[in-house]
């Protein structure tokens, strides 16, 4: 039987502004700054942006709304929400969704550590003209004590914030950090736009290559970027929705989060591509865009600060501060997701957070000392996020799509019509196409000769082995999780969800 519901009243966000700010902080991460500009520029510029807007409308917004209903109605983290919406046999799905994000948290802390390290480099004037940024990056990543130290700093800072809970911790921090992040991005974008020659960067980013719109790969890449960027299917928005006020809006908030996330991406794109094209040749810019996430931010872009008026002492610290804030605000959401689930399982926050910090630190160490290991984890759990979106849609189907729609509509500031139900029903089709493309890529592009080798970082087998292992563990633990998670407003006395009870 589920544990007694705690008698203490759960904290809630003080206003819609702080909820939306926190949710935008969850969505805006390092990917907005270093992945989006590359993807947009290399895949048709404006044509990619059109596909991205469509992806936000048909995938991200409906799934964020579903997550919001799951969290706000059940008042539980991912495990309890799936149990209460789908019945006790399905708690494992919430465990799977949550643990995929926990898997990301383990290495994302290392990435945040890099951003913090580079912020420290920047404020100590390391990005002077002529700095060999490739050597700086190689030196840093080849020094385990440094990468581990900054991983510890990142997870430690976030642990302190989450330890203090909503009202004294992440709400108050994010209320100021997210507006500050936008101010930094606006300053960096304006700086880039005022550099002579930056218009070529804007052309790269914004002018549509219409021919690309008929290219299926552009759409698949745009949907992937959207899924990785908005956080739809990660369980993070679900977790923040646990702390929503009663009768809070669903539809307008989800739309605002997606628009805010897109705006942050565009500002970062202008800042990065505008600067690169202004200060270097087209060939350099395209090489930078093709150099991967870390290469773009820490090697190619970092090289330019010394050549920009005010770059070394002003714009370099601003850029890496923005990168660190974007990363940390997402890491806060990941740790809160973990903490919420552990709290639901009966461990108080003051005990849960130190344990989570310790485990995240230890499990993150392999990613801190091996870029290959980190890349593997990024690949496995990044693609795994797509499954989380499907699980949220399945939860809505089991609960009753029309019933969910009516509940969303009752509290939303604009009409949640049958468009939402339709998008949830066709979600599995969109998922199969997108997920199938990723699986196909593992066999045809990423590891064509080693797709069966689980130790090959980008092989099909490494994906399957790690996902199946997680799913099996969650299935084995299902009954224990169902019983152990505390009772919530939707839980029946038998511990089953309301749907099961009604069956």
């Amino acid at each position: 039987m589920a544990q007694e519901a705690p008698t203490a009243k759960r904290e809630v966000f003080g206003s819609r502004f702080t909820f939306v700010a926190a949710a935008i902080g969850m969505a805006v991460g390092t990917g907005n700054i270093w992945r989006f500009p590359r993807e947009a520029g290399l895949n048709g510029g404006g044509a990619f942006l059109i596909a991205l807007v469509v992806a936000n409308l048909v995938w991200a917004i409906p799934i964020l709304m579903s997550e919001s209903l799951l969290g706000s109605k059940s008042r539980h983290g991912t495990i309890g929400a799936f149990r209460d919406f789908m019945g006790r046999r399905f708690a494992w799905m919430g465990g799977f969704m949550g643990f995929v994000t926990v898997g990301i948290m383990f290495y994302y802390s290392v990435v945040c550590g890099w951003a913090i390290r580079y912020f420290v480099y920047a404020i100590t004037g390391r990005f002077e003209s002529g700095t060999d940024t490739q050597a700086l990056w190689d030196g840093f990543t080849a020094t385990p004590w440094q990468t581990i130290l900054f991983h510890a700093i990142a997870i430690g800072i976030v642990g302190l914030i989450v330890y203090r809970g909503l009202k004294r911790g992440f709400e108050i921090i994010l209320k100021y950090v997210i507006p500050l992040l936008f101010v930094l991005l606006v300053i960096l974008a304006i700086r880039a736009m005022t550099l002579s020659g930056s218009s070529e960067g804007l052309r790269f980013l914004f002018v549509p290559d219409w021919g690309q719109l008929g290219n299926a790969e552009l759409w698949l890449r745009a949907f992937s970027q959207m899924a990785f960027s908005t956080g739809a299917g990660w369980g993070l928005y679900l977790t923040y929705s646990v702390y929503m006020r009663r009768r809070e809006d669903f539809a307008l908030n989800a739309s605002t989060v997606c628009a805010g996330n897109l705006f942050a991406s565009l500002l970062a794109g202008v800042a990065v591509m505008g600067t690169i094209f202004a200060l270097r040749t087209q060939d350099f810019a395209e090489e930078a865009a093709g150099s991967g996430n870390e290469g773009l931010a820490f090697i190619f872009f970092a090289e330019l600060f010394g050549e920009m008026p005010g770059g070394t002492w002003f714009f370099a610290p601003l850029f890496f501060l923005a990168l660190a804030l974007a990363g940390v605000s997402s890491l806060i959401a990941m740790m809160e997701l973990t903490t919420r689930n552990v709290e639901d399982l009966g461990m108080p926050r003051r005990r849960a957070v130190p344990w989570i910090v310790l485990v995240a630190f230890i499990v993150g160490i392999p990613s801190a000392i091996s870029l290959d290991f980190l890349a593997n984890q990024d690949f496995v759990w990044g693609v795994g996020l797509l499954i989380g979106g499907l699980l949220a849609a399945i939860a809505m189907m089991k609960y009753g799509v029309e019933r969910a729609r009516a509940e969303l509509d009752a509290s939303s500031d604009f009409r949640v019509g049958r468009w939402w139900s339709g998008l949830i029903w066709i979600f599995p089709v969109m998922f199969v196409i997108l997920f199938g493309w990723w699986i196909q890529q593992t066999v045809t592009e990423f590891a064509p000769d080693d797709w069966y080798n689980p130790f090959e970082p980008f092989s099909l087998m490494t994906l399957l082995v790690q996902w199946v292992a997680l799913a099996v563990v969650m299935l084995v633990l299902n009954n224990w999780l169902s019983r152990r998670v505390s009772a919530g407003p939707m839980t029946t006395p038998t511990g089953a969800g309301s749907v099961t009870a009604a069956e």
Binding site: S15, R16, V20, G45, G46, L49, S199, L202, R203, F206, V207, P208, R245, R246, R247, E248, D249, L252, N253, S255, T256, A259, G260, L262, F263, L266, L267, V270, D413
Partner: protein, 41 residues
């Protein structure tokens, strides 16, 4: 010219949409009042 137009469409358009959504939320919250979020019905 082409660059300016498309930059305005995408960057300016997204900023406008975001500003509109934020304004809409602010207006709705003012209409409903704080009490709305404290009561059950």
């Amino acid at each position: 010219m082409e660059v300016v137009v498309w930059t305005l469409i995408f960057l300016g358009g997204t900023a406008l949409v975001l500003a509109f959504l934020v304004y809409w939320a602010w207006k709705k919250d003012r209409e409903k009042g704080e009490q709305y979020y404290r009561s059950d019905s």
